[in-house]
Each structure stands twice: as structure tokens, then as C-alpha cells.
């Protein structure tokens, strides 16, 4: 009997701690200045909305404000796949005023990313759509998140929410220059193939555009700049763009080779702060921004 009581005490204490811990961590997520916390709090209203994977972080908000005078909000996240992008966009429109423009960096259609979708578990209590997406990819983790509160906060996304608890994340862009070793290693690299991850991913892009058009939002599809030597090794760029254009009915505006100079890049695929300035200037010149 004694052992049974101890076991019950253990279970009770563990559940209590889990619920209490979950509530505290939820409060942190709720009050964070991180972009998705702002999205779900309804404080993310902006004139221009950006969406992309880590390459989409090049839409650097301080530069956009300085060069165009417009407010912007960036939904981009490292390796963000299009199905998650669509879910976030839906949630954005439900909780925030519709933007005038939506700019999508289409290389986010190239990958599926189950792990990242699981990482967004800390925002699942806000969004039935997000909870559903998590369940589709991994029903076990979906159930685990329902049963054990702390599991939802076991992710890099939550860590970022914690990091941006008291400060803005608008400066989220790596600011360093690509190393000479990396540039040298470029010569021996194989061509980099571009391809759509799946038909479903492409349909999520189509759905995003339809939803945006239904809300009278202008949509621009772009390919952000690559390091010039890397851009020269892009494989299937043209058919890839055509596939997206055919599915969406929108042109894909190609900036893959638009920024020249290694000093504008962090690595092969990402602009640094200086490079972002160059790129946003080009977007303004072309009346996209």
C-alpha cells in the first residue's frame, strides 16, 4: 500500500509540475516579441508581408522601412516549408489586418520539414490549423503535446521566443561575410539542383496566393540572390520557375544573380545585412516594394 501511495504521489507531482511549467512557458510565449508571438497576439499588422525560408530573412525590416517608408512583417524562418507557410499566413489574416503586398521567396517550396513543423508546437494552442498540421505529420507527437504540456516547448522556436522575450527580432539576419575558404571550396562543388519538394507543397503555394487574392493582397513571387559563383551552379532553374509559374499563374521574378560581390553574402545562399540593403534597393527599383 505504501508503494502504491508513493507511486500515486509521483504521478500527481509529475503531472502538476508539467501543467504548472507548461502554463509558465505559455506565458513567456504569449508575451514574447518574437514574430510568431506577435502574429498570434494580433500585433503584427504591416503593409508588406514577407514569407520564405532562411533566405527570406534577407527581407530585413529596418532596410525596408528606411528605403520604402513602409511597414513590414516577416514570416520567414530557417527551412520553413510552404505548407507551414500557408498555415501561418491563414493565421496571420485571422488575427491581423490584411497587408497590401505579400512577397514570397519561392525556394521555400523545395523542401518538406517535419521537424520544423513539430517545433511550432508551442504555438499550437493558438491555432487549430497548426495543431492539425502537426497531427498530420506526426500523430504521436500531436497526442504527446496534448498529454504532456512541456513537450510543446521542446524546440528551437520556443528558445527563440524566449530569447526575444524583451526585445524585437527585426534584426534577425546574420551579419558576417563569407570566408575565403568557403569561396575556394565553391569550385569543387557539384551543381545545386532546384526542385519542388512535392505536388502538395506546390498546392499550398497556390492556396496561399488564392487566399491573398481573395483579400485583395498583391502577391509577388521572387527568387532571392545567391552568391554569384553558386548561382552559376544552379541546376534546373528555368524549368523550376516555369513549374511554379504554371501552377500559380504568376511570374517568378528572378534575382538569383542580381547581387554581385562576395562581400554581400554570409554563405552561398544567404545575403548579409549589407547585401540585404542592395537587394531591397532592387526590389524598390522594380516597384515590387
Amino acid at each position: 500500500m505504501k508503494h502504491v501511495l508513493w507511486t500515486l504521489a509521483l504521478i500527481g507531482f509529475t503531472i502538476l509540475g508539467d501543467r504548472l511549467g507548461g502554463a509558465v512557458l505559455h506565458h513567456f510565449v504569449d508575451t514574447s516579441q518574437f514574430r510568431y508571438s506577435r502574429l498570434y497576439n494580433g500585433t503584427a499588422g504591416a503593409q508588406v508581408l514577407f514569407m520564405g525560408n532562411s533566405r527570406g530573412l534577407s527581407f530585413y525590416e529596418p532596410h525596408v522601412r528606411k528605403l520604402t517608408g513602409r511597414t513590414s512583417f516577416n514570416l520567414s524562418y530557417n527551412a520553413l516549408p510552404m505548407d507551414l507557410g500557408y498555415t501561418l499566413f491563414q493565421d496571420y489574416l485571422k488575427r491581423n489586418p490584411a497587408p497590401n503586398d505579400l512577397i514570397i521567396e519561392v525556394s521555400m517550396c523545395n523542401k518538406l520539414n517535419k521537424e520544423l513543423i513539430m517545433s511550432f508546437g508551442c504555438y499550437a494552442p493558438y491555432s487549430p490549423e497548426l495543431a492539425h498540421l502537426i497531427n498530420v505529420y506526426d500523430p504521436k507527437m500531436g497526442i504527446a503535446g496534448e498529454l504532456i504540456s512541456l513537450v510543446r516547448y521542446n524546440s528551437e522556436v520556443f528558445q527563440r521566443a524566449l530569447y526575444y522575450l524583451r526585445k524585437s527580432d527585426e534584426n534577425w539576419l546574420i551579419n558576417r561575410t563569407i570566408s575565403p575558404t568557403m569561396i575556394d571550396a565553391m569550385a569543387s562543388r557539384k551543381p545545386y539542383g532546384l526542385s519542388i519538394a512535392s505536388e502538395d507543397i506546390l498546392q499550398n503555394l497556390v492556396k496561399t496566393i488564392k487566399l491573398a487574392h481573395a483579400k485583395n493582397i498583391r502577391v509577388h513571387l521572387v527568387v532571392n540572390p545567391y552568391l554569384p559563383a553558386f548561382a552559376a551552379k544552379l541546376d534546373h532553374l528555368q524549368p523550376w520557375k516555369e513549374q511554379i509559374s504554371t501552377a500559380t499563374g504568376l511570374p517568378v521574378i528572378d534575382y538569383s544573380n542580381a547581387v554581385q560581390g562576395n562581400e554581400f553574402f554570409t554563405d552561398y545562399q544567404h545575403l548579409n545585412v549589407k547585401g540585404s540593403y542592395q537587394y531591397i534597393s532592387l526590389l524598390k527599383r522594380d516597384a515590387i516594394l
Binding site: F13, G17, L150, I174
Partner: protein, 475 residues
């Protein structure tokens, strides 16, 4: 079936319920069938090989005991060792030697035919082969009596907690434990559960969290900064430690719940002050196996310095090759052998040097630990790299000191989380020297509840739930 999977949770629950409701021979059969189910879950074809090894060594053990002529006994032991090593060699090393031979012939301008076969490596073959082989050797040495009950012997070879990644248990310690039925014991269950939970924390929270960062460093070293790669090497030293010792903790804990006692496999190895000490604290069951069945039969340290150095080098080279069919593993063994030889040569001078410097004792010890740790990390580079070319890229990236700053480290959030987890591990391990948590938790039930709950919360908050395999399964 791996420990960190839902299937295993179902398996172990059912197994424990049945195990403690059965007695005697029925329990023995359950151990055998349960272990075969556990092992066959990966691939049922693996069962044939383990069954064959079991039958062979069981029969040879009995034949050896019956034989009164020394020459016949010798033949039997040679047969056992040869066949065991042939199985191991074929499944583990055939492609390695075939590829190496082809490369060598190609270097002479000849074009041999492709001799590589698609051989599936049976998981844990190195572990159970060594375990089974030591049984026949011990009988040959007349250190143990052969086991006449085939079911008991088969259960000894295949018992699931230690089957695929050790600890490598010895017949003289382990076989007698099958002869008595252990009834359910609440304290033993709690003690075993503590060990299992701690093992899960090491594996699921620490090792699996470190894995992606490490993988990035060793798959694309030229694209990362020197500091990033240096951190990756540091993380790998903890990834492999937590992965393997985590497995051992789970195995030892599960065995304890069932009423068995396994040999300890790790004892805070990164706090070693010499390489000799390191090998008494890292993968203890393998290093003691190599000591007893290889180093000592070679002559150990009895034949003068040069012979000792030769024996150390040979033992470590074979220890390296045991881990896998690759030149990098062999080189890893060579490095550890060299470390031990050099240490034996310079140790008297080093002591003298410390005395001359009048270093405080704690500083001298700390310095020793640091040197051993850093050189161990250097050897890990070769252990982790798939080829020498990758290892060289990793080393040259670190030594270039290019972008040696925190800003150049990508995935800082993952890195921060990993540092935090390592800090938790080290705090527990260091304070354990003083508080002896295992005993403390048995004595204080309230503390035990808090500790279990904390471990549960930490695993929930920091674990990686992809049911990834253990590194040592490949060995």
C-alpha cells in the same frame, strides 16, 4: 527494437508482467524468447546467426570438458575462436578488406573485378561474439564449468538488455545469476528505474540533441567556421559518451529490475588523469575483455618495456578495428595505443617537471585531465570521420582559426541548448562524487519523487523524440 521507441515500451511492460508472474524454467524460456523477439524485430534473419553461434559454443564447451587430452581441447578452442572470428570477420570486415585489396591492386594499374557483396551487418554481432567466445576460452582455461542447459546458455548469450551494445558480460559472473529466481523487489525496481531514466536522459536529451550539430560539422566542414567545428568536436565527445553510456545505463537498470547485476561500463571517463586510467573508465567491459583475452595472453607488461609497448599497441589496434571496418577506426586505435606508450615513456619526466614548477596538486591533476581530454577529442575526430580526407578537413578548418568568433557559429540556439545539457550532465556527475545520488535516492523517497519528476520534465522539455538508433549498434 530500440529502447527509445514506443514498441519497446509495450514490449518491456508485457515482458515484466510475464517475467514476475513466472518462475524457474518458464521464466528462462521467457528470457530467451523475449530476447529473440527483441533482436528479431530488426531483422528475423539475424536470429540464425546468433542461434548458430550459441549452439556451436554450447556444444564446444561440453566437448571441451569431456575431453581429457590437452591436444583435443586445444583443437576445440582454436575451432571455436576461429569460427567466431570468421563469422565476425565475414559480416563485418569482408567488404572492408575487399575494397582495400581492390584499391591496392588499382594502385598497381590492374583492374580487378568488383568483389563487394551486399552483406547486412547483424546488429550487436561484435558484442555477443565476444561474450560467447570468452565463454569457451574460460572453459578451456578451466576457469568455469560448461553450462549444460541449452536454454540457460542461449538466454545468457541473448538476454535483451545487453545484447546489442553491451556491457559485454562474462559467463563466470552472469551465468550463475540465471540459476536463482529473483522475486519482485520494490527497492530494486526503483533503483533500476532511476538508472534507466538517467540513461534515457543521456541518450534522448543530450546525445540526440548534440547529434545534428555534430553531423553538420563532419558532413560539411569546409562550409563552417573554425570555432563552429571546434564546438562540434567538443559536442561529439559528449554525444558518443552520452549515447553509449546512456545505453549502458538503460541496460544495467533494466537488468537490475529483472534481478541481474551487470558490470559497470563507464565511470566518468573524461575525468581521467592518464590514458591507462581512461581505459579503466571508458567501455570497461570491452577494455577488460581485451586485457584478459588479448593483452595478458600476449605477455602483458611482463616481458620488458618494448614488449609491453608492442602489446599495448596491438591491443589498441585490435580494439580500434573491433569498432568497425574502417582505416579511421584502426587509426583511432593506433592513436590511443600511441598515447599510452608515450605516456609510459614521459610520465616520470612529467612528474619531475610538475615538481620543478611547484604546481599545486589540484592544478597538476586538472592539467593532466585537460591533456587527456583534449587528446581524446583529437582521436575522436578520426573515430567520427568517415574518411581520412574528412578528418583532415576538420583538423585544418580548426587550425586555420578562420572566423574564430561566436558570431560565426551557426545554429546558436542549438549550441546554447547543448551547452546547457552538458552543464547539467557535468554538474550531476561531479556532485555525484560527493552525494552518491543512487544511494541517496533509495534512502529518501521524497527526494526520489522529485528526482524522477525532474528527469521526466527535462526529457519532455529537452529530449529528441525521433527514436534514433544508438551509435554503438553499428559496432
Amino acid at each position: 527494437m530500440i529502447f527509445n521507441s514506443l514498441e519497446f515500451l509495450v514490449f518491456i511492460t508485457a515482458f515484466l508482467l510475464l517475467y514476475f508472474s513466472l518462475k524457474g524454467r518458464a521464466r528462462l524460456w521467457l528470457c530467451l524468447l523475449g530476447s529473440y523477439l527483441f533482436y528479431g524485430w530488426w531483422d528475423w534473419r539475424f536470429l540464425g546467426l546468433i542461434g548458430l553461434t550459441t549452439l556451436m559454443d554450447y556444444s564446444l564447451g561440453i566437448l571441451m570438458e569431456r575431453s581429457t587430452i590437452e591436444r583435443d581441447r586445444k583443437r576445440l578452442i582454436y575451432f571455436s575462436v576461429t569460427i567466431n572470428l570468421l563469422f565476425l570477420g565475414f559480416f563485418k570486415y569482408f567488404n572492408f578488406f575487399a575494397d582495400s585489396f581492390r584499391e591496392m591492386v588499382l594502385a598497381f594499374g590492374l583492374h580487378p573485378s568488383d568483389t563487394t557483396l551486399s552483406i547486412i551487418l547483424p546488429i550487436g554481432i561484435s558484442f555477443y561474439t565476444f561474450q560467447s567466445m570468452s565463454y569457451t576460452v574460460d572453459i578451456y582455461r578451466r576457469e568455469i564449468e560448461p553450462e549444460r542447459d541449452l536454454v540457460r546458455f542461449a538466454a545468457f548469450v541473448s538476454l535483451f538488455p545487453q545484447l546489442v551494445a553491451g556491457p559485454i558480460v562474462r559467463a563466470r559472473d552472469f551465468l550463475p545469476q540465471f540459476k536463482t529466481d529473483k522475486p519482485w523487489d520494490w527497492d530494486r525496481f526503483m533503483s533500476g528505474l532511476t538508472r534507466v531514466l538517467w540513461g534515457f536522459f543521456k541518450k534522448v536529451a543530450i546525445a540526440d540533441s548534440l547529434a545534428p550539430f555534430v553531423e553538420q560539422c563532419f558532413s560539411a566542414p569546409t562550409t563552417l567556421s573554425s570555432l563552429h567545428i571546434l564546438i562540434g568536436i567538443f559536442f561529439y565527445s559528449f554525444q558518443i559518451y552520452c549515447d553509449f553510456s546512456g545505453y549502458s545505463d538503460i541496460a544495467i537498470g533494466l537488468a537490475r529490475i529483472l534481478g541481474f547485476t551487470f558490470i559497470e561500463n563507464f565511470q566518468t571517463p573524461y575525468f581521467s588523469r592518464s590514458f591507462t586510467e581512461f581505459w579503466t573508465r571508458w567501455h570497461i567491459s570491452l577494455s577488460s575483455w581485451l586485457r584478459d583475452y588479448l593483452y595478458i595472453p600476449l605477455g602483458g607488461s611482463r616481458g620488458g618495456k618494448l614488449r609491453t609497448y608492442r602489446n599495448v599497441m596491438l591491443t589498441m589496434l585490435i580494439g580500434g578495428l573491433w569498432h568497425g571496418a574502417s582505416w579511421t577506426f584502426l587509426f583511432w586505435g593506433f592513436l590511443h595505443g600511441s598515447y599510452q606508450v608515450v605516456q609510459r615513456i614521459i610520465q616520470p619526466y612529467a612528474r619531475q617537471f610538475y615538481k620543478t614548477l611547484q604546481l599545486p596538486v589540484f592544478l597538476g591533476r586538472g592539467l593532466d585531465m585537460l591533456i587527456v581530454y583534449l587528446l581524446t577529442c583529437f582521436a575522436w575526430i578520426y573515430f567520427r570521420s568517415p574518411t581520412f580526407a574528412v578528418a583532415e578537413q576538420v583538423i585544418s578548418s580548426v587550425l586555420s582559426f578562420e572566423n574564430f568568433n561566436w558570431a560565426s557559429v551557426t545554429n546558436k540556439f542549438i549550441a546554447f541548448r547543448c551547452f546547457l545539457l552538458i552543464a547539467i550532465l557535468l554538474t550531476v556527475e561531479v556532485t555525484n562524487f560527493r552525494f552518491h545520488y543512487a544511494q541517496l535516492l533509495i534512502q529518501r523517497p521524497v527526494l526520489r519523487i522529485v528526482a524522477y519528476a525532474c528527469l521526466f520534465w527535462l526529457i519532455a522539455l529537452m529530449g529528441t523524440f525521433g527514436a534514433s538508433s544508438f551509435i554503438y549498434f553499428q559496432f
